[in-house]
Symmetry: C2
Subunit: 791 residues, 2 copies
């Protein structure tokens, strides 16, 4: 766990006051910059030391074999892995004859700041070389939201007390050495040097390198250009080889003099275009960036973010830790999706190589619920990406013997890459989660056009999937058998409540959409009997309920299973590290919210009393070995009145990476959890839900939060909600005729521009006392000193 | 499928009248010779052409990695694969200057005969070389039952019409080229050249080669010695290299003159002994073989088999095809187990590399039921092998979080090698099947000593496993959740009836054994409360029954699942080739007898009416994509009165390899199916069961079998049962005081020596008409012309 000493609690930035060498891997992820298309890990300018050097282009991947010791029909044979592309972040510095390195000489100061408002990563260094030459270095880095193909580094060196010769080598390097990507040598071999040089070009102040990924065949172009300012004269030259290019600037600085180099980086990739076209595209992008200059790019970045925060910011009074963390999460979720433009939003965004760079249900399940409210254009593009892989999903469905489309559990390019079917193929619920995102985009944004463009087809094809997999029993009840719900400690079960309820919603949404757009439906070949069958199945969906215990069974038979015997040997450690699936699957132990998630996403299907009892039951057996759990538990705990427990879970979701709670932030950030932290606050403490297409609110704050203000976009309006322990205020921040109907503590109200709706907070008496968690698995208390202790 | 033209129907032999080059791979398996320790595939003497060259030593294996694209806790990391050891079968012949090869020159005759009574594989060849030199070759091969470490080849060449120079090269060759063992290069690399030369020695008329398996470290010694007789003089010399040795004999034969070479082969391996000790052991074995000479070895072979057939033969009147096949099966099952002596009996015996040479539940489930009746010493040794791997099974149980011992689903050396847990680890029933074999050995042979030696410990440790995995629900019923029964098209299910009933028997047998041997139980640390808990669980075992349909559900919920939609595209093909487990696991389709096997092995747990209804229900959804199904279906179909259908299934089980019905006889024989054919006949048509420790009989023959006589050993007696459509005769073939109590059609009778018990056949009117099978999956009719058509 990372303590607060590494990243002090500050409202609008993440700052590392001194280089935390032992947290280098984590800071590479935390300080990652991205715009959804290009991602740069927070590696040091000079490249070394590093744990994982990372430069990513969304969906630029290499193909690799998936070897099975015992295979089976329909097992994916090819995997896809995100590639560390040509690294353009590198700026190496020599002071006289010695290279700058943080571990050599004396590091007087070293500070890095990720500014969440202007989107820059700034670094200031004061260094004395082993030979006693002192320099100050200031660098700023950005990945442009405004110019999608562009990143830039502004690098400045100043001589302090003596005249020094300064040599700066700005490089592009392909096929950097990477940590062993797999214990399997076949896989390692495929990924060790995936890039084959194609073409190199020297530009006026830089170069362009083109490479092709060996097996996937994807073509990549990376280019750099430079603008140099020096106190006196300087020499500049550029060398280019197959796998690297280097622009070298040499000058002599007297004390107080500075050398400034602005490095513009351009990236592009394609599966179909020619090297020439790609080279020209990058050269063109670089020209555009050069024209804007560093200041122009930085101004545009700030403007983009100002617009974002204007309708996205969440203010939390009384809990500065959560305040910083939720903004950090919002910023990174924006970075992952902003300019993805019909490419996947991966589970780790573009912050690291974790999960092979794959996108999962995390996108639609956790990231889009946030983006739909705060950056709807990005949500729309993510759904367009799903639509673009419908053909792969249809083929997958055929392989599985099913109709419609079966979206991949994990993928980059659309093909299923999951090599363990009980937790991949069997997690059929993913398809209903996608359908939910489609439907929510329409009702929250009010944008009907996307449904016509692609949403309807997704709804229809997923509905067809469900009716081909589910079946009606002799009594007419509709069942979905042999699937795995969100809880990965329960695989291949029948009638998983989450899956069944979400499938029913998927089926109704598809039928409704076809009714709204009969011509478009007919064009998709929807026969009149299909929506009828969908509604029949949805109406007859079977939902296991244990009358004896008065709770829902997560899946058929679940509440009859043996309890999990928590061993004393590994308190609080993930169970999967010490127990086989064979045992986990048929015990009453839950990795991550599953039935509880059903209550979050299908709130109308449960009574308040059922919610209270179910929360109580499942809290006692849930271990949160997945980062996709705390946020959901926060929302439901808040709903049933366990506000302090909800606060704890909100912390856990929000601090997943700033505190490295799952001990794998090195591989990239947990975007779903970061987005989920927003959900914990806004849907948990704000009580935000969507009812019949309109928002519902029911703010209730825990003791440790004295005030909460959140902004979001709804139906084209900008909504502001302000709450403390006594009063709630809801207002619109748009023009005179703006109005929005919503439900506040169950009361229908209409908010109009300029007229704040104010109500007293309606308190909720919880039906049951706060539940306990399994031994060793209780969340840390929000605000507890222990959370900031270790580093 | 192989037609009858390849192997004509003859009662006591399998003969190939002409070389069937297109069936070479299958004849290599069919003509394999083995004694349970050494196995020689039926490769031609001269080694080429071959499909799979095979020489095996029981349990001599190489270790290899098991690579998982997505691993999990408790997944086995190391596999074990049987190794093609140093090949001593090779005898190459040169006629003048041309090598003998069946595809060159002219093959006037080529006949091979596997004689089931004397245990020899004989070959006669009449060949004209490309240069027109004609020779006759006669060779005989044996793997000695009497001298466990010895195999031998008697090789004779005769000049026919001209004087020819004959050169015979008799070889030992290590690390022969093998078919690609795996698509995975890591695995292939580990297995391509597994043998490292250690020591070589020239002996008087031969050589000994020692090799070590690279990763497993096992040491192997292979030696050859020769006895040469020639009409005139001859030269003999021996060359030895690291990976081969060659004894060359040269002579000149005039027409009618012969050169005869008897080649003695000695094999040994060890995990602990020194190369010197192993070399001496092989040299000693060769001296012993030389002393016996070919005739002595062949006489001993015949004597061993005479003794075997005396109490094992099954005679079938009216169906010569089944007659040949059942003897073929009995012979091969004997070959697999006769001298295994505390080594595994693999699923393919020592006939081929299929399933990596692993032993499965096939051994205790299908092979031992036969061996216990006809070669009890071999059954005892197989159980001693199980006992010898208890430590590995205990460690495996600990890994799984369970008590007691969890035997491996597939292994050579005892460690779990199954790389797909839903059909490996989850097939927990294996442990109860082993316990059943222990118990049946005691009750059928009357030998109590094995229980004290090792049976009790197996029963206790498996009982401990069951109670640690199973659990009592709130109402007290005992459940076994998340397991896979015999049917591999239904994985990870709850309360599989077969598993539950077998587990209950295991628990009761363990408790009974502890009661019989309180001191031994105490020595194993059995606490007094343990047998009580075992009996409590067994008494409370839950057995799913579908009241609506009046049949047992194979597992909880099974009869509620959707039916399988049989596609028109692949009629009769194994479903697993075209459908994923994801679909198969939750449909009502059955790969192999599961509930039906429960009725065979736990007959008292079902009423006659339940059996009839269950057979009817499961017949309609069983596709027999496993070779472990037809035999069980035969037994139960016979029991409920579908005698003709039982006859069809008996054929299918018996002809699995002679007709290559599963299209993989190339990889080795299906020993469980061959043993199961005996079961189909003796337990099916003979009605043999064990009731309270005594045999029960109820012979009823199908129309196509006019008479059935079978022999077996029971309680130290040799029993003969003779039946036709009218009369049954039961007699003992032992001394004056021999007597045996048994049940005949439910009547308690006592058979005494010299007094034949004779009764009229009691016919059975089936409760239901014969069922149909899924479209395309009906068995071929026994005796149908189609069975002998293709070749």
């Amino acid at each position: 766990m990372i303590g607060a000493a590494v990243f002090p609690v500050e409202p609008w930035q993440v700052r590392e006051p001194a280089l935390a060498t032992h947290r280098l891997a984590q800071s590479e992820s935390v300080f990652a910059l991205a715009n959804g298309h290009i991602g740069l890990r927070g590696n040091l300018d000079e490249g070394e030391p590093h744990v994982i050097a990372g430069t990513y282009l969304n969906s630029f991947y290499e193909q690799r074999p998936l070897p099975y010791p015992e295979g089976g029909y329909g097992y994916p044979e090819q995997g896809q892995t995100v590639v560390n592309v040509t690294d353009g972040k590198l700026i190496r510095l020599m002071v006289d004859d010695e290279p700058f390195h943080v571990a050599h000489g004396r590091l007087l100061t070293h500070e890095r700041v990720l500014d969440l408002r202007d989107g820059l990563l700034r670094r200031t260094v004061d260094w004395v070389s082993p030979a006693g030459r002192r320099v100050r270095i200031r660098s700023s880095r950005l990945v442009s939201f405004a110019q999608r193909a562009i990143a830039a580094v502004d690098y400045e060196v100043e001589a302090v007390d003596r005249e020094v010769r300064i040599t700066v080598q700005s490089a592009l390097v392909a096929d950097e050495e990477q940590p062993q990507p797999s214990a399997d040598p076949r896989v390692a071999a495929a990924l060790e040097h995936p890039l084959i040089a194609v073409v190199q070009d020297t530009e006026q102040h830089g170069a362009v390198l083109l490479h092709r990924a060996r097996a996937s065949g994807l073509l990549l172009a990376a280019g750099m250009d430079h603008a140099v300012t020096a106190a006196g004269g300087f020499d500049e030259e550029t060398d280019v080889r197959a796998d690297w290019a280097r622009t070298t600037v040499v000058t002599v600085l007297r004390p107080g003099e500075r050398l400034r180099i602005t490095k513009f980086l351009g990236y592009a990739w394609s599966s179909s275009r020619s090297p020439q076209a790609l080279r020209d595209q990058v050269a063109g992008a670089l020209t555009g960036a050069h024209y804007a200059g560093w200041d122009g790019l930085a101004d545009d970045q700030r403007a983009y973010l100002d617009d974002f925060w204007d309708a996205a910011d969440v203010e939390i009074d009384g809990d500065p830790v959560l305040q910083q963390a939720v903004r950090f999460g919002l910023f990174h979720v924006l970075q992952a999706g902003a300019r993805a433009e019909r490419r996947a939003v991966a589970a780790k965004g573009l912050t690291g190589p974790g999960y092979d760079g794959h996108a999962f249900w995390d996108t639609e399940g956790f990231v889009l619920p946030l983006l739909t409210y705060v950056a709807p254009h990005a949500a729309a593009d993510a759904l367009r990406w799903r639509h673009s892989i419908l053909d792969q999903a249809r083929r997958r469905a055929r392989t599985l013997g099913l109709a419609g489309a079966a979206f991949p559990w994990r993928t980059i390019h659309g093909e299923e890459c999951s090599a363990y079917w009980p937790a991949g193929t069997a997690a059929l619920h993913l398809n209903a989660v996608i359908a939910r995102a489609v439907e929510r985009y329409r009702t929250i944004t009010g944008d009907d056009a996307l449904e016509a463009e692609c949403g309807l087809e997704i709804l229809v094809e997923t509905a067809r999937l469900w009716v081909s997999h589910g079946h009606h029993d002799a009594g007419g009840a509709w069942h979905v058998d042999g699937v795995t719900g969100p809880d990965e400690y329960s695989g291949v079960a029948d009638d998983n409540v989450f899956t069944n309820l979400m499938a029913a919603r998927n089926l109704r949404a598809a039928a409704d959409a076809c009714a709204r757009r009969p011509e478009a439906a007919a064009a998709l070949g929807v026969r009149p009997d299909e929506p009828r069958a969908w509604r029949t199945a949805a109406a007859a969906v079977h939902v296991p309920y244990d009358e004896r215990l008065g709770v829902h069974a997560q899946a058929a038979g679940f509440t009859r299973y043996a309890p999990w015997a928590f061993a004393a040997e590994h308190p609080g450690e993930p169970l999967m590290l010490h127990a086989p699936y064979f045992q986990l699957y048929r015990r009453q132990v839950v990795k991550q919210a599953d039935l509880v998630l059903a209550m979050h996403w299908c709130p109308e299907d449960f009574t308040a009393a059922q919610k209270a009892r179910n929360v109580d039951y499942y809290e006692r057996i849930t271990v949160r070995d997945s980062s996709l759990s705390a946020c959901t538990q926060a929302v439901l705990c808040a709903e049933v009145g366990h506000l302090e427990l909800a606060h704890d879970y909100a912390w856990e979701a929000a601090l997943v990476d700033l505190r490295d709670l799952h001990a794998n932030t090195r591989d990239g950030l947990h975007l779903a959890s970061l987005a989920g932290a927003w959900s914990a606050i806004v849907e948990g403490f704000g009580g935000l839900r969507e009812h019949d297409g309109g928002p519902a609110l029911a703010p209730r704050l825990p003791a440790g939060i004295t005030g909460l203000r959140f902004r979001l976009r709804h139906s084209g309006r900008r909504l502001l909600v302000e709450a403390d322990h006594d009063t709630v205020r809801v207002s619109l921040r748009d023009g005179d005729d703006a109005r929005l109907a919503l439900r506040l503590y169950g009361e229908e109200v209409e908010v109009t521009a300029g007229a704040v709706v104010e109500r007293p907070v309606v308190p909720l008496e919880p039906l049951l006392p706060p539940p306990t968690q399994p031994p060793g698995y209780a969340p840390e208390r929000a605000g507890a000193a222990g959370r900031t202790g270790s580093s």
